[in-house]
């Protein structure tokens, strides 16, 4: 039996790597993938705790997170495609239309 603590630490490490990916990478697609990684990290923690407390709800939450992730990917990628069409680039450093 693996202590749940190990899973939580792993989840944290993965989450931080994902966050760094969001902050460091300039490729919008990779930024997206990093977000997916962060979601996975969270999912892992959910499942671990579900196992710990024998609560099915934790697993169901993961299920819902997956759906949300799927929806997010669909919309997000569509956005990236649309942006690429107008800007011919997916470098987030070249997109600053929101500049005040």
């Amino acid at each position: 039996m693996v202590p749940v603590m190990y899973y939580v630490i792993l989840s944290a490490i993965l989450f931080i790597i994902g966050a760094l990916g969001v902050l460091i990478r300039r490729n919008a697609i990779v930024v997206f993938m990093s977000i997916e990684l962060m979601l996975n990290a969270a999912n892992l923690a959910f499942v671990a705790f579900a196992r710990q407390y024998a609560a099915t709800s934790g697993q169901l939450f993961v299920f819902f997170v997956m759906t949300v992730a799927a929806a997010e990917v669909a919309v997000g990628l569509a956005l990236i495609v649309a942006i690429f069409k107008t800007k011919a680039s997916i470098n987030v450093d070249q997109i600053n239309t929101l500049k005040g």
Binding site: A19, V22, L23, R26, V92, I95, N96, L98, K99, G100
Partner: protein, 735 residues
């Protein structure tokens, strides 16, 4: 037998609403179908409606005889009921009201029939045949309103009829509303009649308010209904100053409706209406409503001798005053109009003195002979118009007329001016004879109707109020004089104008009613012969309490009086008045035949149009101008009223209140205040603060804006920094 008679009588009494409804149905039929009916049908329909009303009145009269004069009240419908006020549409059937119904219905029907012929010509002379139907609608409306007036059981329903007849009078005076002086003269005459009547109505209204205020608390059950019986019953319990006030205010109403001083001015102008109107409304029926009202109110008038005095004096003075004016009029209808005012003065004086029967008697006979006079005057006028018409269409005669034109520059021929007439007795024989009958009746020559009734008034006056007796006697003298003058000017001598020479008699539809009226004028006096006193007994069924009080002396005298009392007839009075009348007629004959002959020698320019003018000088001018009463009223009332209302409307209300106060003071002041707030205060102080604040914020914002790089990663980083910081805080916190 008795029972069946009673029920039969009761059944007849309940017919009384029909006296109102028959004319109403007639006018409605004429309004709805009149457009499709011919002229004759319209006229006969209207006459039939009026005739049926007369028939009902006759039935009622017979029933009254059957019930020995006991009157009844026939309730019809509730009218106004609020708290202690309970007004009904209820009809009064007693000898007084039925007398009036008979007069209104009878004379009214005759005049309707006459009008079928008269209006046929009239609407053509005036060039608007479309008005024929309207005339008969108004005429029927008048009969209906007059019937409401005389059959009412309470003061307010009477008032409905009272104003209703006023309305018809207004409409019919203004019947030729596009004729008269400046095209508007007739309309103005109508308005004058209505408004003058309204002044009288004001008196009537105030009298009814007083009645309600003081009678209602004493009424049975606290509910007051204005009906004649309860007023008569309560009146003795009310303080006499109140009764005096009520009667005097009512007198104002009487003066308005019956054209007494000071409100008589409308009646002469009312002659602008077609002649049948003058006959029916302004001679026979409507104007006698005031007399009827006083007779109706005998119970309250008998309580206050002071009021009776006032009424009698008003009547007496009016009688004399109007008689003087009648002497100097040239319009054939104006003479009759002033004569009517004068005769109404006789009646008012009579009922004022308490001689209700005499007053009512004179009312009835006057209705006959004055209607007759007016209608035959109408016949004369129409004869003249025929003549004028003939002249217009004959160039030869036309030239002749121009040469003979006595009155010089009158471009418009006036068929009513007696100066244009003369010698008509040959050309219009029937009219001449009936006119003569009417004139003799009016002048009070035995045995024509006027003699009996006028004499009765004079006899009563001598007994009750000698001052009024003398006024009336002198008035009677004038009456005979101006009637003599009129008959001579119209029918005797030579024709003074070409139309008069060409005039011709009217068709039978006009002359037959004239003949009937002439017979009534001749024999109507026999209603109340000495010893028999049919009419007195008839009326006394209704006015008995007062009549007993007032005529006790006369009655006693009739049976056991001195030698000159002959069956209730005062021979001295009768003799004196007849003598005066004969003298007056003789005088008129002297002046208007002999004197005119004598004046013929003068050149036309200096020849006076009336021999009296040279004899009386300024007095004649005064009489001719109606003693300038119209001008006086114009100066005293109308001009100030117009000026005041202009002043109020234009200066006070508009210039001051609307323009100055509201627009300048309020709106302008507000605008000024707003300017002060807007410019120095708002721009200077408040804007300064606000703008300064805005500048500062803008500077700060310019700095802050630089944080917004637009790069997503920067934003994400700041979120991340926040996360780290929060967790750091948690770490330190949790330790």
């Amino acid at each position: 037998m008795l029972l069946s008679e009673a029920t039969n009588a009761g059944g007849n009494f309940s017919l009384v609403p029909l006296v109102v409804f028959f004319p109403l149905i007639g006018l409605l039929l004429n309004i709805i179908f009149g457009g499709r009916l011919g002229e004759k049908a319209i006229g006969w329909l209207a006459s039939l409606a009026s005739g049926l009303a007369f028939g009902v009145a006759v039935l009622l009269g017979i029933s009254l005889i059957g019930s020995h004069g006991a009157g009844v009240t026939v309730p019809f419908l509730d009218w106004i009921t609020i708290g202690s006020l309970h007004l009904q549409w209820a009809f009064r059937v007693d000898t007084l009201s039925v007398t009036m119904m008979l007069v209104v219905g009878g004379v009214g029907t005759l005049i309707h029939i006459y009008a079928i012929g008269y209006m046929h010509e009239d609407v053509r002379h005036n060039g608007d045949p479309g008005r024929y139907r309207r005339f008969f609608v108004f005429f029927n409306l008048f009969i209906a309103a007059m019937m409401v007036l005389v059959s009412a059981d309470n003061y307010l329903m009477l008032f409905v009829g009272w104003e209703g007849v006023g309305l018809c009078s207004y409409l019919l005076i203004g019947f030729w509303y596009d004729k008269g002086k400046d095209g508007i003269g007739n309309a103005i005459a109508g308005k004058k009649a209505f408004i003058t009547n309204r002044i009288g109505d004001f008196g009537f209204l105030v009298a009814s308010f007083l009645m309600f205020k003081f009678f209602q608390p004493l009424a049975e059950g606290g509910v007051f209904s204005f009906d004649f019986d309860s007023v008569a019953a309560i009146a003795p319990k009310v303080a006499s100053p109140v009764i005096l006030a009520i009667t005097l205010f009512m007198l104002l109403g009487v003066a308005g409706k019956s054209a007494q001083l000071p409100l008589f001015v409308w009646l002469p102008d009312a002659m602008a209406g077609p002649t049948p109107v003058s006959a029916l409304i302004h001679a026979a029926t409507m104007v006698t409503a005031g007399v009827y009202l006083v007779a109706r109110s005998f119970a309250i008038y008998s309580l206050v001798p002071a009021a009776q005095n006032w009424v009698a004096i008003v009547g007496g003075v009016t009688a004399l005053f109007a008689a003087t004016i009648a002497v100097a009029q040239f319009d054939i209808k104006k003479v009759l109009a002033y004569s009517t005012i004068s005769q109404l003065g006789f009646m008012v004086a009579a009922v004022g003195m308490g001689a209700f029967v005499a007053g009512m008697f004179h009312l009835v006979t006057h209705a006959f002979f004055k209607a007759l006079l007016f209608l035959s005057a109408g016949s004369v006028i129409q004869g003249m118009e025929h003549g004028h018409h003939a002249v217009e269409h004959d160039p030869l005669l036309r030239r002749k007329m121009k040469q003979n034109e006595r009155l010089g520059s009158t471009h418009h021929f006036d068929p009513q001016d007696m100066r244009n007439m003369g010698g008509l007795r040959h050309r219009m024989k029937t009219t001449y004879w009936v006119y003569l009958a009417g004139a003799l009746a009016l002048a009070g020559i035995v045995p024509w109707a006027g003699f009996w009734s006028k004499d009765e008034i004079l006899a009563e006056a001598l007994h009750l109020n000698p001052a009024v007796y003398w006024l009336l006697t002198i008035a009677a003298f004038f009456t005979a004089f101006y009637m003599g003058r009129q008959v001579i000017m119209v029918f005797f001598g030579e024709p003074r104008s070409e139309p008069a020479a060409q005039a011709h008699e009217n068709p039978p539809i006009m002359t037959v009613p004239l003949v009937i009226l002439a017979l009534l004028s001749t024999f109507g006096g026999f209603l109340n012969l000495p010893f028999i006193h049919t009419f007195t007994h008839w009326i006394e069924y209704t006015i008995h309490p007062a009549a007993e009080a007032a005529e006790a002396g006369a009655e006693a005298a009739a049976h056991a009086g001195p030698w000159y009392m002959w069956g209730g007839l005062n021979l001295i009075v009768a003799g004196l008045s007849t003598l005066l009348a004969l003298i007056a007629i003789a005088l008129a004959w002297m002046i208007y035949t002999r004197r005119v002959e004598a004046l013929k020698s003068l050149p036309a320019a200096r020849r006076p149009d009336d021999p009296l003018r040279s004899m009386l000088g300024p007095v004649f001018t005064g009489m001719e101008h109606k003693w300038w009463v119209d001008e006086l009223y114009e100066f005293l009332i109308i001009k100030p009223y117009v000026a005041i209302s202009r002043f109020l409307a234009e200066v006070i209300d508009w210039k001051f209140w609307h323009d100055f106060f509201h627009d300048t003071i309020i709106a302008g002041g507000y605008r000024g205040l707003a300017w002060i707030f807007a410019n120095p205060i708002d721009l200077g102080v408040i804007d300064g603060i606000a703008n300064g604040l805005a500048e500062g914020v803008r500077g700060l914002a310019a700095q802050a804006r630089r944080i917004q790089t637009g790069f997503v990663r920067n934003y994400a980083l700041s979120v991340f920094v926040g996360v780290v910081l929060i967790i750091s805080y948690l770490v330190f916190q949790l330790r």
